[in-house]
């Protein structure tokens, strides 16, 4: 019996060692990046990573010498508008597919599904021309208009809306609610969790865009953070590793905090949904 316990303990210790070792490997790029963001670039260049000259200087110069705040503002505005637009338009089209009967409904839905198979990367040439014709190059609108809706979002919300109990629709009909009222007062609140998921998904999607903003924006007035970081790297700051790491940290720390809070929130959201 004692022998058995010993083996169990040994197994447990081994598990923890493995868990910790893997966590260290996965987190190493963060640790290295964030640690060096506190070091003077001189020390980094000399390979003196154990320097004790820790300071926030790199952060101060990232905020004062680079347009990083402007990039952040651009990105937050664009991602928020994209998210709101997708929540509205995806939920509306999902509503149409679930609650309305009209000609070619199946055909149009099939078209939406087909859309999900087509990579945006393959459409950049005509889309660039379209945005150029509209005179929207180097404008927030260039980064928002093509993503006002998404077939994926529509599909996801449709799956969710289909779970709405039929009694709710019947009750709404008896109450004499029209489609707008039913959509706004019943369907959207009922599918809150799917809406939050789509919101998070579309916000992150816009936040992480790289190729399209690289093609359509070229001034600091509209450049988003991903392309901004590249800009910082390629400008005169090329070898200022301390400041570059600080800018990367400025971008990544809020996202990770949001992610952790979001994880917690999603969990409680799930439970709430289950109780309901």
């Amino acid at each position: 019996m004692a022998n058995f316990d010993e083996r169990a303990i040994l197994k447990r210790v081994f598990s923890y060692i493995l868990l910790i070792a893997l966590a260290l490997i996965i987190l190493a790029p963060f640790f290295i990046g964030i640690w060096t963001s506190f070091l003077p670039t001189m020390d980094i260049a000399k390979g003196n990573l154990f320097s004790t000259n820790l300071s926030l200087d790199n952060y101060v110069s990232a905020f004062t010498k680079t347009p990083i705040l402007r990039y952040l503002l651009n990105t937050v505005v664009i991602a928020t508008l994209t998210m709101v637009a997708q929540l509205i338009f995806c939920s509306m089209s999902a509503y149409a597919f679930v609650f309305l009967k009209f000609r070619f409904r199946k055909t149009i839905f099939a078209l939406f599904l087909v859309t999900m198979m087509l990579p945006f990367e393959a459409e950049i040439i005509p889309n660039f021309a379209t945005i150029k014709h509209m005179g929207l190059l180097d404008n927030y609108a260039a980064l928002i208009i093509p993503f006002l809706t998404s077939a994926f979002g529509t599909f996801m919300l449709r799956q969710s809306f289909m779970q709405t109990p039929a009694e709710l629709k019947e009750a709404a009909d008896i109450e004499g609610l029209n489609h707008f009222q039913f959509y706004w007062n019943i369907v959207l609140p009922y599918n809150k969790i799917s809406m939050i998921t789509l919101g998070a998904y579309s916000f992150l999607g816009a936040w992480n865009q790289y190729l399209w903003p690289m093609l359509t924006t070229f001034s600091n007035n509209s450049r988003v953070i991903q392309n901004g970081l590249k800009q910082l790297q390629s400008e005169e700051t090329f070898n200022d590793w301390g400041m570059i790491q600080a800018s990367a940290a400025i971008i990544v720390i809020p996202t990770i905090i949001v992610l952790f809070i979001g994880q917690h929130y999603f969990k409680s959201g799930m439970n709430e949904g289950a109780v309901k």
Binding site: K101, P119, P146, K230, I251
Partner: protein, 313 residues
Amino acid sequence: MLKTSTTNVVPEKKVEAKQRQGFRLNANDKYYASIFLGPSLLVLTLFVFYPMLKTLYISLFLTNTLGNTTVFTGLDNYVKLISSPDFLSSMSVTLLYVVAVTVLTVSVGLLLANLASQKLPGIGIFRTLYSVTMGVSVAVAAIFWLFIFNPSTGFFALMSGWLNLPVVNWLTSPTNAMWAVIITTVWMNLGFTFLILLGAIQSVPSTLYEAADVEGASSRYQFFKITIPMISPTLFFVSTITIIGAFKSFGLIDLITKGGPTNATNMLVYRIYKDAFYSGNYAKSSTEAIILTVIIAFFTLIQFKFLEKKVNY
């Protein structure tokens, strides 16, 4: 109700009444449908269907530097592309990248998920830490890893110094540059893959493991005979998602290697971009874009078919 009240009316009128009723309902829904569906349909038409057809159209022509089509050449562009060694090497580089990224992402993700599915005190911390790369965007990942790969001041170079090992030229040797991009991509993918696989492992009924414990089955046996078969649908799902994502890779390549050295990481989407926006060869770029579309559509279709099956099941 309506039917019984109209049974005695002459057939013609009955049909008319029915039609009118049906028509009224439809008209109402049609009106709502145009409002609810209109905006999405407009955006998709303008920014998905039109550009896709236009790209297909351009790929059948020669183009001038302004991007205007000049001579219809049918499938000539495709024939030229498929017989060009340059494109073929690009395709094989892309395939190597896709396979390496998918195999590594899924197997490492599975290892992490299996480890983190154990019921141990404090395991929640590890679950959170393993999913952390989900919050990393391409530009941040590229900066972190560029510093690690940097040949003079980078972390790997320093480590080689401490260990008295030769410094590896991560970004200047074609093979190593490819691995640099693969490693960074896998690292970025891990968080998402881990979370999805962890969810799948946690939903395997615990009674299966309990029964296996009673039988005295080893944990290795349990992993291969219970866990893997039970989560195979999810394994399939994350694999196709990873494959699709890898085929569409652009950001990391642009940030880390710019397709180089000597085209060693010049993958499909990077080619599409360079052929159009650097070389002004819109016909070639469009042809490559259509090839990309066929590949992505193929894998998405597999995924759809699979989801459909799962739903029916």
